[in-house]
Amino acid sequence: MSDILTVADLTLGFRTEAGPARVLDRVRLSVRPGEIVGLVGESGCGKTTLARAILGTLPAEATQVGGGRIELAGSDMLGPGGGRGVRGRAVTFIPQDPFASFNPLFRIGTQIMDLMRWNSPRRDPAVRTGWYSPARRRADRAAAIAMLEAVQLPQPARILRKYPHELSGGQRQRVMIAMALLPEPRLVIADEPTTALDVTVQAQILGLLRRLAVDRGVAVLFTTHDLGAAWEICDRVVVMYAGQTAEIAPREGFFAAPRHPYTHLLLRSLPEEGRDPVGIPGSVPSPLRPPPGCRFHPRCPRASQVCTEQAPPLLGEGHLTACHHPVGGALGDTLDG
């Protein structure tokens, strides 16, 4: 089957007062139907910018697209009027902080029905008016209640009458997941959906998201900085560093035998029994003045002359790595080669 989402060599930046910020540099990414892809990287690596670029919600006046394309469900998201009719229907979004995404003045039910008025799968896309037939409203309401049940919220009819502040963090995130799935999308972009939650609630939410996505055949692009969460939910992992794709690998291969030195160091930074976490010296470069060549070379123990001159291409079959000196063996392999 063809990919639901293809991002090919996307280069994108913002105009700032201090000059152009090159936030994304030839990013490659693909998501197949029904697949859960984890987009992993630390703060400032461009994962949220990429997610927003895919959704087409970046501020148009400040954004400069340097090249590449984003194709989502067959439509070009960077073209004129890009994403209209796709955004909110074929692709939906789960935000990091569900509280900030609800209007505190309206009941949950009002906000869900507002979404359904425009983005319900039962709406005829040819009709441009906001006419909401009572029959469709009834069907949509039943679908909303069924969906709230599917996300394991007790007494969904009562939830619809509540205000956002009356729900706990976990419940709000469940409602957000329900709202993301109600338009019956083909791809859901979840931007750090469990960062604000406690570990026991995170386990529940991740399990729920994975189950629902698998049952309904919905693809998920899951951005996170938490490698543990990526391990839990993903089929495939994409690692970004400073706006470049560093590594793309299936979950098992990624965690057992990472090839990019950055991925290696990232995994070794996790606190674990029996050894001290090492960390990565230095800090993420500013997108205003990214280092030439491979953007990781100033912090990389394996860097050589070629790394400062040429950005490495993303190579490999299945397990792709953008590195001139990839790590060969298992995690124990020394990095000082």
């Binding site: 406690d198 570990v199 543990g228 969460a229 996790l270 960390g279």
Partner: protein, 324 residues
């Protein structure tokens, strides 16, 4: 333990009134409800639990930011907090509190030198030259060059601001430092170096840490002992290695089971604990974990006390059955 504990809590409670219409008191939020704890000098005690379990309130009550509703806090053998007690100012220098981002407490209009001098000006009578020597030593200890003293907070990176914030706390030579979620919001690559810095400073200055965190992996890596809190009470306490290897309380078990383990099976497929902690303003009768507990039995209608065997204890009626 031959040496007396550096910090001892006896039946510490902190209740917050819940107010309704016309500021009428309509309930009580029991953020801390009878916490007994003693911390030995030089150890790192981790306090873990989910949001709302009272772990931050515990740190703040020890610190004196909140006055206790009941119970006593003893620090270095002296009573420092009990209802109606005024804390001697000398205690403030020896007991320090590190917020999530210590760098955020720097005054943006002050050069770092002035920010670093400030605690010494308030708490000591040292002449300027001695203060300067002291802060230079501490700035070097947190790994910053002297030249940074001339800069303003916005001229250095967030990580460096954090180091300056720590230097400021250490300038007074505290004995006990309460670290409140010191690694949340940090990337793992940065977190590792922050943890290394904490370890290094502890060894150098002979500090005792109370390490409040919700991140179990970090607590496991940092702490000698762990106390697990649930709704204002300690439900399990013991040496970190023992608690993580053989947890006794069903809540601790659930907490450990929920943390993703890279390389292990997906916990999301087997995770059993349902629901979220109840509202601390409406606590269930008896064992607080009863409503979510897979082992709940009629006996759990009475509140369990910490049942210690050696250094390891759990507040559960049923954990011994599970061991057999």
């Amino acid at each position: 333990m031959a040496e007396p504990p550096i910090l001892e809590l006896r039946g510490l409670c902190r209740h917050f009134p819940v107010r309704g219409l016309l500021n009428r008191r309509i309930g009580t939020l029991r953020a801390l409800d009878g916490v007994d704890l003693s911390v030995a000098a030089g150890e790192v005690l981790g306090i873990v639990g989910e949001s709302g379990c009272g772990k931050s309130t515990l740190g703040k009550t020890i610190m004196g930011i909140h006055a206790p509703t009941e119970g006593e806090v003893h620090f270095e053998g002296n009573l420092v907090a009990t209802p109606g007690h005024v804390r001697p100012p000398a205690v403030r220098a020896r007991l320090q509190y590190v917020y999530q981002d210590p760098g955020a407490s720097l005054d943006p209009n002050w050069r770092l030198r002035r920010s670093l001098h400030e605690p010494l000006v308030i708490h000591t009578n040292l002449p300027r030259a001695e203060r300067e020597a002291r802060i230079r030593e501490i700035v070097a200890a947190v790994g910053l060059p002297d030249a940074h003293l001339e800069l303003y907070p916005h001229e250095i990176s967030g990580g460096q601001q954090r180091r300056v914030g720590l230097a400021r706390i250490l300038a007074l030579g505290p004995k006990l430092v309460i670290l409140d979620e010191p690694t949340s919001g940090l990337d793992v690559s940065v977190q590792a170096s922050v943890l290394a810095l904490f370890r290094d400073l502890r060894a150098r200055f002979g500090l005792t840490y109370l390490f409040v965190s919700h991140d179990l992996a970090v607590v496991r890596a940092m702490c000698d002992r762990v106390a697990v809190m649930y709704l204002g009470r300690i439900v399990e306490i013991g040496p970190a290695a023992e608690v993580f290897a053989a947890p006794r309380h069903p809540y601790t078990k659930a907490l450990l089971a929920a943390a993703p383990r890279i390389g292990g099976p997906r916990v999301t497929e087997s995770f059993a604990l349902q629901g979220e902690p109840p509202d601390p303003a409406h606590l269930p009768q008896g064992c607080r974990f009863r409503a979510r507990c897979p082992l709940a039995a009629p006996a759990c209608a009475a509140e369990p006390e910490l049942d210690m065997t050696g250094a390891h204890g759990a507040a559960c009626w049923r954990w011994r059955e599970g061991m057999e």
